[in-house]
Amino acid sequence: MSTPDAVRPLKYVDALREAVEQEMDRDPSVFVFGLDVDDHKCIQGSTRGLLQKFGSDRVFTTPLSEDAMTGVAIGAAMAGMRPIHVHIRMDFMLLCMNQLVNIAAKASYMWGGQVKVPLVVRSMIGKSWGQGAQHSQGLHSMFMHVPGLKVAAPSNAHDAKGCMIAAIRDDNPVVFMEHRLLYGTETDVPAAPFAVEPGKARLCTRGDDVTVVGISNMVQEAIRAAELLAEAGVQAEVIDPIWLKPLDIATIVESARRTRRLLVVDNGWEMCGASAEIVAGVLEAAGPEAGIRVQRMGFAATTCPTSPWLEAEFYPNPGTIAAAAWKLARPDAEPWVPSPERTRLAYQVQFKGPF
């Protein structure tokens, strides 16, 4: 039996599951639905056991009807329930943009505060093993753009649990962005329920040479890059915003003022992306007198290809992140690129498709 303040290593996927289970225990109005949440694969394990424990009234699959199911979630939320609607890929949320943007985001406002929409929309980002064009998109910036929505993008098991609990308790629609390649990663996670609320970014590493903001799994890749950079004598400060909306820009501004170099590495495209927002937000706040040099990195400005040789060009990785950070920090030195073997991430070595 674990004591209430016990902490143990937990996988990201199990942290998600545990958060939902604890909240369902606490609050009977919480329910989970979406395609395949109740089959034996349980959304890669993230809904495992919930059906058995809470029954099919509170854990159920749906027809393939993302648009209407989102409306159903919104209506149930307005009526006082707390739905968690699950998409196994973020790409499929493009089918429910109308409900999310035209109704969920606007309900409280356009109806004069008479209703609220306590809704969590879980979505997973795929990567590699041929996920390709339509199973790999990080679309968070589209949701960040819209007032009335919140967006969480936890990059480790601890925050996965804490953000999920905060999202479920939030009275507003929260787009919850997970990453498939993070599911197997472990960190220490408190056993008791706890909330990681919006508004406070995390300093993952400390350094005075360059600020590196990572988003979603790019946090892990940035941390690996920071290790490589440290070996080369550059101290990178890696920041994880955790919540993208509302965004704790102040922490990033503070760091960037000190390092005078800002690299934002997104798990998405750059144009009008989260990286554009962070760069613009920092420089608007800090002004030219802060003398901050900035750079964005993200998906190549292309569709995601399936061939592994092409995919390697599509994503930032610890090697390209480290090289870019080096160039920002040491503009006058020779370019430096870590050796390819050193840049592979642990989870990339372990992982094998299909998924």
């Binding site: 009234d57 749906t62 027809p63 009807s65 648009d67 209407a68 199911m69 989102t70 409306g71 159903v72 979630a73 919104i74 209506g75 149930a76 939320a77 307005m78 009526a79 006082g80 329930m81 739905p83 109308n98 409900q99 035209n102 109704i103 309900a107 409280s108 406002y109 356009m110 109806w111 004069g112 505060g113 008479q114 209703v115 609220k116 929409v117 306590p118 007032p147 009335g148 919140k150 009275d171 507003n172």
Partner: protein, 320 residues
């Protein structure tokens, strides 16, 4: 038109509901040219009977939802008239505090879940309310109002299937006025007469009322809702009606070429407001009419006298 077995009290209640809606919208149309209402208004004049009939069989704890054309539904379900008028005037006392206008009326206390201006979006939202109602097991039901055009959106079909699958207490109410803006249904639907068949094929029992008879609509709804309250699952009512005014705005538009005045003739002949007026005892009718006028005048006065929203209110209610 059918005979009715409703009591005189029932008939006069229905008459009051119809008359209130009709006059509220006529007064709205009269005010409109003065530009005090800076909001697109979609009037239901001529098709009030659907809201009046359906809401007559609903009660406290039941919900309704609808489209931009929702004054009738809102009033029939008991939404506050002054708050809706103030909303159209953009005042702080409006039902949305000036943030929704005519297209987004809501009165949560009265069970009006809010109307939406993107066609057919409230259909699945209503199913969400119905899911909550089912889980609450208190026998409450939800009715969602939409037009013939809305029945062409994918989420209408998706919701029919889901509602049937989960036996939700959801009444789909299709107000088929034969037009989506100016496009007749035959230009948009290969089988204009088969909306009910689609619902049935997806598992939702459906009824069509062709002549706009308020009693027939009420009778059908009454049976459907009774069944629903006992867990019988969703139903659909398609009521053929006719829109007398232009799609949006206060005027008639029979001179615009997309339809002709003779189309409205049979509908005016069977106008349900007039029909029921004739069924109500004259003294009572006079009293009802006077009360309705007074209520509307009071709503207009309230709207006019209400304060405008403070600039800072633009920032409120973005998040709950």
């Amino acid at each position: 038109m059918t005979e009715t077995s409703l009591s005189p009290a029932d008939v006069s209640r229905l008459y009051r509901s119809l008359r209130r809606i009709r006059r509220f919208e006529e007064v709205t149309a009269e005010i409109y040219p003065s530009d005090r209402i800076k909001s697109p208004v979609h009037l239901a004049i001529g098709q009030e009977q659907v809201s009046a009939a359906i809401c007559d069989v609903l009660g406290a704890g039941d919900w309704v939802g609808g489209s931009y054309r929702s004054h009738a539904m809102y009033l029939a379900k008991g939404g506050s008239m002054p708050a809706m008028m103030a909303e159209m005037f953009g005042k702080d006392t409006g039902c949305c505090r000036g943030k929704g206008g005519s297209m987004h009326v809501i009165d949560a206390a009265a069970g009006v879940m809010g109307s939406s201006a993107v066609v057919s979006t409230q259909i699945p939202v209503a199913a969400g309310y119905a899911l909550a109602a089912k889980r609450a097991r208190a026998g409450h039901v939800v009715a969602v109002f939409f037009g013939d055009g809305a029945s062409e959106e994918g989420c209408f079909y998706e919701t029919l299937n889901f509602a049937a699958l989960h036996a939700l207490p959801l009444l789909f109410v299709c107000e088929n006025n034969g037009y989506a803006i100016h496009e007749p249904i035959a230009r948009r639907r290969a089988r204009p007469d088969e909306i009910c068949s689609v619902a049935e094929a997806l598992g939702v029992p459906a009824w069509r009322i062709d002549d706009g008879d308020v009693f027939a609509i009420r009778q059908t709804a009454d049976e459907a809702v009774r069944r629903m309250r006992k867990g019988g699952g969703p139903a659909l009512i398609e009521a053929k009606v006719y829109r007398w005014r232009e799609h949006v705005g206060p005027n008639e538009d029979y001179d615009q070429g997309y339809r002709f005045a003779d189309e409205v003739v049979p509908w005016k002949r069977t106008d349900q407001v007039e029909r029921l007026a004739a069924m109500v005892e004259p003294a009572l009718r006079t009293r009802i009419d006077a009360e309705v006028e007074a209520e509307i005048a009071e709503a207009v006065r309230f709207a006019e006298d209400s304060p405008i929203p403070q600039p800072k209110e633009v920032w409120s209610d973005v998040y709950a």
